[in-house]
Point group: C2
Chain length 225, copies 2
């Protein structure tokens, strides 16, 4: 994919410097978006290193406000650290669950724990709170642009993983300061999310479940002014 | 696309409830990510309503933490409001530019103004600061998940627009409180970004510029723990 102007493999045409995507490209993106899912049940099979390298390349294509590129990825391999993350999740989830109907809280916790216990790849995503890149463009008025850029990078990884038939689950019920301390990150790294990545166990990940999910998704209201 | 299990038009196969994306799907996504761009120069031609409807459908497929779906879209049609947004940009940009090399600050401001002056569609994106949907899941420990979800929706729209050969430019140099006041949004809506959308003027949007851009993109470092 070093010569994206070629247009042979990927269906788009590039003539006179103008790139044109076909209706099929839009349809494929829609399919990918519809089948993107928050996966919690993984097969334990490892993800080949070459595939992880492709995902890194894709994530690096994410947009960022002022091109600040504030995201940092820690691949958590150590079993000791993974167990500690699991314990931090359980601790925070007890606090969070106190406000919910106990049955749903338990179901929810089991789902997340299933991901943390089995996902072959686990990625802690951090955001630089004061990146040198981008020269603070956009951040003077809206410091949340760093959160936005990091989230767009996570979403890029999510779609890239899906296109490779991998699943990704995002865990946010973790105390950011505890995660930063646990993983001993450099000064200025703020915890953004913990991602579980691997091959989905398809037998409890049926299209029906997802069709139901689509129904639950209310359309985005666009108002006019 | 109401029957995504069909697999006829979009290249993926669905057998026994298992969806499989092909290597071509991953390659197409990579092409789309590589050619995704922050567009500032638009042709004034309107964007057909049917196309805007498709983009809305795509944006509604964005993931959100706890399925909170906190994004709201205001389509700014009024010439008076557009002029007021432009004035707010100029005001904030003067403040932001004070910290930069004047020549670059001016070039940058001209780019953004070009988008604000010509983009046929202009969308103000807001984030609900306390959405009912999602029941606060994930937000107890990390309130920034609402920013993350809204950014993933913006990114979804960005990619969907690109796949339809539209361009999108994101403007963040705007005072959020002023934007909320100007557009008289409901209580609890927080300004996230202002998006310029339209057909890119390809003659100053050359692949060369983008190839240069890719070179500037440093690879994402994945460290291990």
């Amino acid at each position: 994919m070093d010569t994206p102007g070629g247009g042979i493999e990927t269906g788009f045409t590039a003539a006179g410097g103008i790139v044109n995507f076909s209706p099929e490209d839009a349809a494929r993106l829609e399919t990918l978006l519809r089948w993107r899912r928050d996966v919690r049940h993984f097969r334990p099979d490892p993800v080949p290193e070459a595939l992880l390298v492709r995902l890194r390349t894709m994530m690096a294509l994410a947009p960022s406000v002022g091109n600040a590129r504030p995201w940092r990825v820690l691949s958590v391999k150590s079993a000791t650290l993974r167990a500690a993350v699991r314990a931090l999740f359980e601790q925070e989830n007890r606090v969070a669950a106190a406000g919910y109907d106990p049955e749903h809280a338990e179901v929810y916790a089991r789902l997340k724990l299933a991901g943390l216990d089995r996902a072959p790849e686990q990625l802690a995503i951090f955001m630089l709170e004061d990146p040198e890149a981008g020269h603070r463009l956009g951040r003077c008025t809206m410091p949340e642009t760093l959160h936005q850029s990091t989230a767009m990078a996570i979403h890029t990884l999510w779609l890239a993983a899906r296109a490779e038939n991998l699943g990704l689950g995002m865990v946010s019920i973790l105390d950011p300061r505890h995660m930063e301390h646990l993983l001993q990150v450099p000064e200025g790294w703020r915890f953004s999310a913990y991602l579980c990545l691997g091959w989905p166990e398809t037998h409890d990940d049926t299209p029906l479940l997802h069709r139901t999910g689509w129904q639950e998704n209310t359309p985005t209201v666009w108002e006019e002014r």
